[in-house]
Structures are given as C-alpha cells and as structure tokens.
Symmetry: C2
Subunit: 172 residues, 2 copies
DNA sequence: CAGTTTATGTCAGACATGTTGACATTCCAA
DNA sequence: TTGGAATGTCAACATGTCTGACATAAACTG
C-alpha cells in the first residue's frame, strides 16, 4: 500500500482540497489528539471528586437546559437510560443535581443544578472555555469559522439538525 | 449567572473573535457531538468483532508506524502499559498483530499488522476517511485549514511538538 | 370505565477498558 | 559480576458502558 503524494483513486476535486489518504489520516489523528486535550482539564478536576466524563456531560447539559427531563437528556447523550441513571443517582445523592417530579406528566423527572452543582459546572467549564479561548485566539477568526464548519459536517447527518438546533436553544 | 450577548469580562479582542462564553460553549458542544460522529462508523464495525476503540487506536498507530515498540505506542496513547497489554494480547491471539522480539534490545517488542490486521485497518480507516472526506469537501479548503489550526492549538502545549512531528513521521 | 398497552424512570448483573501493584526478563554501568 | 533501570506481562480492582427485569403513570380501547 505504499503510495505517493496522491493515491491512484484521488479525484481532481479532492486534489484541490488535498484530500489524499495521507491528509485525511492526519485529520483523523489530529481529531484524536485534540479531543484528548479538550477533555484533559475537566478530567483532572473530576477525578479529584471521584467523577468521570459521564458526570461532566450530564452536568453540562443540565446547566444548558435547566429542567430538561431524563428522556431529553438521553436523547442528547445517546447512552442507555440505565447508564445515565447511575450517574444521575450519584449527582442527586451528592446534592449537585435536583430531580423533581414533572408537573404535567408525573412519570417524568425534571433535572436542575443545585447551587453546588452550578459551582462545579463553573469550575469545569471555566477550564474548558479557557483552553477553547486560547485555541480560538491563537488560530484566529477565519480558522474558528472553518473549525465550526468542518465539525458540523462531521456530525451524523440525521442528527445534525437536532444538534444545531440544540446549540441555539440552550438557555432559553 | 444570567448574562447578555457579551459577558462583563469579555475583552475587546475576544468580541472581535466572538469569544463570548456562549460562543465558547457552543464550540465545546460541537466538539462533543463531532467526536461522536467521528467515531460512530468504526465503533459499529468494531462491535461486530467484539473489539472497542482501544483496539482501533492500537491498530491505527501500528499501521502508521510499523515496527514501533510497545513503549513508543504507550507514549502515543498515554494509557498504562497494563491496559495496552491486554488489548495487544487479544490482537496478537487473533492474529491481527505480530509482536517480534527486538533485534538490538531483546526487551522490546516490535509491533506489526499481519495481512488480516491490514485488512481490518483498511475497513475501519475507509469508513472514517470517507466521513472526513465528506466533511472536508462540504466545508471547503479554507475551512479545512482552520479546522487544523484550531485543533492543533487544542492539544496540550507540552505534547504539541511531539504530536505534530508524529503526524509527519508516519510511514517513514 | 375497566383492562391493556405504552412511556418514563429505577435497580441488578455482565462486559470492556481504564487503573495500580507485583513480577520476569534483559540491558547496562559500577 | 552484580545491582539497578528499562521493558513488557500477569492479576485484581474501579468506572462506565450495555442488556434484562421491574414499578409507576399515562394513554388508549372495547
């Protein structure tokens, strides 16, 4: 599978974009390494409290959409309700999340951050935003625009609309 | 923490970049959703064989740098050697990876993909490259450039040099 | 309106993958 | 040549995912 600058199957359009296998593979690796950096700061802070990324994700989205139901959170996170439930149970026990029976539909549970929950969210988010801010600043506005465009295109097409709507709909 | 379009702490430079907390948070969520899309295809294919992302990562980097040692792979993946060892043991048992005693230093093990390993790597990588290619194509060359710049900046500064070198050094 | 089905959420057990600790082998330097 | 350092392996435990079984509330249906 040794190959030169452009593989035999590369089309003209892809050449203009430098979409050789090699370029694509570099994009793949960059995604891997960048995501590790992206999660590094919160990971450290969470570990001190005995939490993991799953807790962070729950806290993040509950903060973004206070009062959302377990089912709505499941739809965002795409994990099983059993998996989410364990995380939520801990957060509720630790008084970071409040779970209130739904007013209209009493099967539902509306989720809110407590004051302590908001506090932790702030700490986690501040670290992550700091890194994102530095990355954005160093890369410049054009790059930020490109970053967004590529990442949007990387989302599953069936989910893209939902995700982009949810990005806007936060903190309604 | 209710706040308007620009928080009180937003500086002028950040406004020019739209680096409000809200914009940063949207970047954070985009990163989360995009990474899930990024891993979706390989995840499905791996599951059929009873493997996980850990196997994929090992296969990917062994393919990129045939003959690398366990220690070198550890340095890339940043997991414990015990964790990596379990994954490698399975891959060697399943005849996807060959582990040869080092010629100079017999403590080391040099890792290679077998023909079957290369076959699986091709399948996994083809799916991931397809998604990356579509994303890059739809976003356009400028966007791809920006994507790279931002992602590079998101990597831990201490690791950035090493990572960028390793991107280039692959398939030497 | 009684009985059944559907929706939402919880609890229990299994597997994958991360961790730390103990150990065997090999290399190297005093 | 011997003791420490480097490399890799094996074992036990923690976390977070999954599937399955269940409880409760709402919605449907005859």
């Amino acid at each position: 599978m040794a190959q030169g600058r452009h593989s035999a199957t590369t089309t003209r359009g892809e050449q203009l974009l430098f979409l050789t296998d090699e370029q694509l593979r570099q994009g793949i690796e960059l995604m891997f390494f960048a995501y590790r950096g992206f999660t590094a700061d919160p990971d450290r802070m969470l570990e001190e409290r005995g939490y993991g990324r799953a807790h962070h994700r729950a806290i993040h989205f509950i903060n973004r959409r206070p009062g959302l139901t377990v089912n709505e959170l499941l739809d965002i996170l795409r994990v099983t309700k059993q998996s989410l439930n364990r995380v939520l149970r801990q957060l509720v026990e630790d008084r970071l999340v409040a779970s209130r029976v739904g007013r209209e539909d009493r099967r539902q549970r509306n989720l809110y951050l407590t004051e302590a929950g908001r506090q932790l969210e702030q700490e986690l988010s501040a670290a992550q935003r700091r890194r994102m801010r530095v990355a954005f600043s160093n890369a410049g506005p054009e790059a930020v625009h490109g970053f967004r465009q590529v990442l949007e295109q990387m989302i599953d097409p069936e989910l893209r609309e939902q995700v982009l709507r949810s990005l806007e709909a936060a903190r309604p």
